[in-house]
Symmetry: D2
């Protein structure tokens, strides 16, 4: 069982709470997320679906978009909570990469509290110079 | 010149302020947005780009995602501000449609304060039953 | 009842046929589309879903992406077919706008053959200078 | 230097050729891609940008969307070519995961012909059950 620090438990609680406000009429699969930024502030989010699926947004992105739109630019830690403890999709990993680095911590938890701790470098290898060096290195 | 109510001016000010926190290293085109939801609360957002462009998000969506992830479900009014007073992209109009209706007001303003007032029904005709009646009517 | 030309019927048939190859394990709502480009060639597509919904793509976009990646740059006509005859989402209207103009014809049909004929200018008003004048006018 | 098989060189050539048809007025960074599916057929694509960046699509997705909309369902190998030899974004890795498996080969090449060979399992760890077991395991 993963031992969690006080800060990690607080972030997971914020993600679990945000999950209750998810808007998921199409999948029925609510997800919550929360991020801690470099000055210690927390921001949370939930997935928000759309009748036209490409306009759906994931929980992780909502939490990051809130943080960045409030002025934050660096992620220290990301938490995501869902019934099955699913891991972030690739699109979310790219959004994390824009504001994180290989050491950015990612916590993934299910509703029973089983939590995995990993890093963005593990989840999205071979991506970081891209964000650091700008669009000429993105393989869009 | 469009005459604006006090509430409309407050919303446009929130959008203009949010614009200053946009993250636009790739386009250099910051946009701000703000929404008023049915209980009167305001939420704002800015565009947040990504080295991989499909993972970019528009200002309007960030403001709506904030509102919805905080529990709001109905939009009363949307404001968007950019240098040129550009109008929302189609993807944002679909996100508005999920939480708005044809009468939802949309204010579009440039940095000189020239403002147009329109509605979601004008900007995205032939879309509303889709959101109301669920995914079986979306032409995804 | 909408009277259709030979070219229009051919395009709708291509969209209807493409719909049979949709990949829709999550929504169960297959859609087909086809486009006619300025040199008269036809390209078709279907919606392709993803376990992470934001990575889903609509039928209209697949048809347009095929055309553009084969060298086409201007759309003359778009057809979309689904069980309910749903109209294109806003995101797809923006993709059409990049390669169309207000007069670009859009045909929307259900499986019983009820067809509506409209234009991109009707479906996405106030969008065209955006595409024509480039990113500084997009309200991303 | 990576030794390439005849099939690999053919796929990289298709990606390199597709790159010449990219539509990149906003980034100026063309990318080409090609996929080989389980029956041996090849499909290629290029990135196609949009004035509203979220509606942009990457080269890898265009190639996969073509293949799937023509009836293919399993990817055997993916090739991507750009000036800098950048690796696929996270969103594209998720699209690959829907139709690939951890052993799906990914070739990444720059314009000088420097090529890296990797797998989807390396590029997107902890993602595959998600696609296999459906939306209830996606952390959307």
């Amino acid at each position: 069982m993963t031992h969690l620090s006080e800060d990690e438990r607080t972030l997971l609680d914020a993600a679990r709470d945000a999950r209750t406000r998810a808007y998921t009429p199409y999948s029925g699969f609510p997800v919550g997320a929360a991020v801690e930024v470099d000055d210690g502030r927390l921001y949370s989010g939930a997935n928000i679906e759309n009748a036209a699926y490409p306009q759906t947004v994931c929980a992780e992105r909502v939490a990051i978009f809130k943080a960045v739109s409030e002025g934050a630019r660096r992620l220290r830690r990301v938490a995501v909570v869902s019934e099955s403890g699913a891991s972030p999709c690739g699109g979310c990993r790219s959004v994390m990469a824009e504001f994180g680095d290989p050491d950015t911590e990612v916590l993934i938890s299910d509703l029973d509290g089983h939590t995995r701790r990993t890093t963005l470098g593990v989840l999205l290898p071979d991506a970081f110079e891209m964000a650091a060096r700008g669009p000429t290195l993105s393989s869009e």
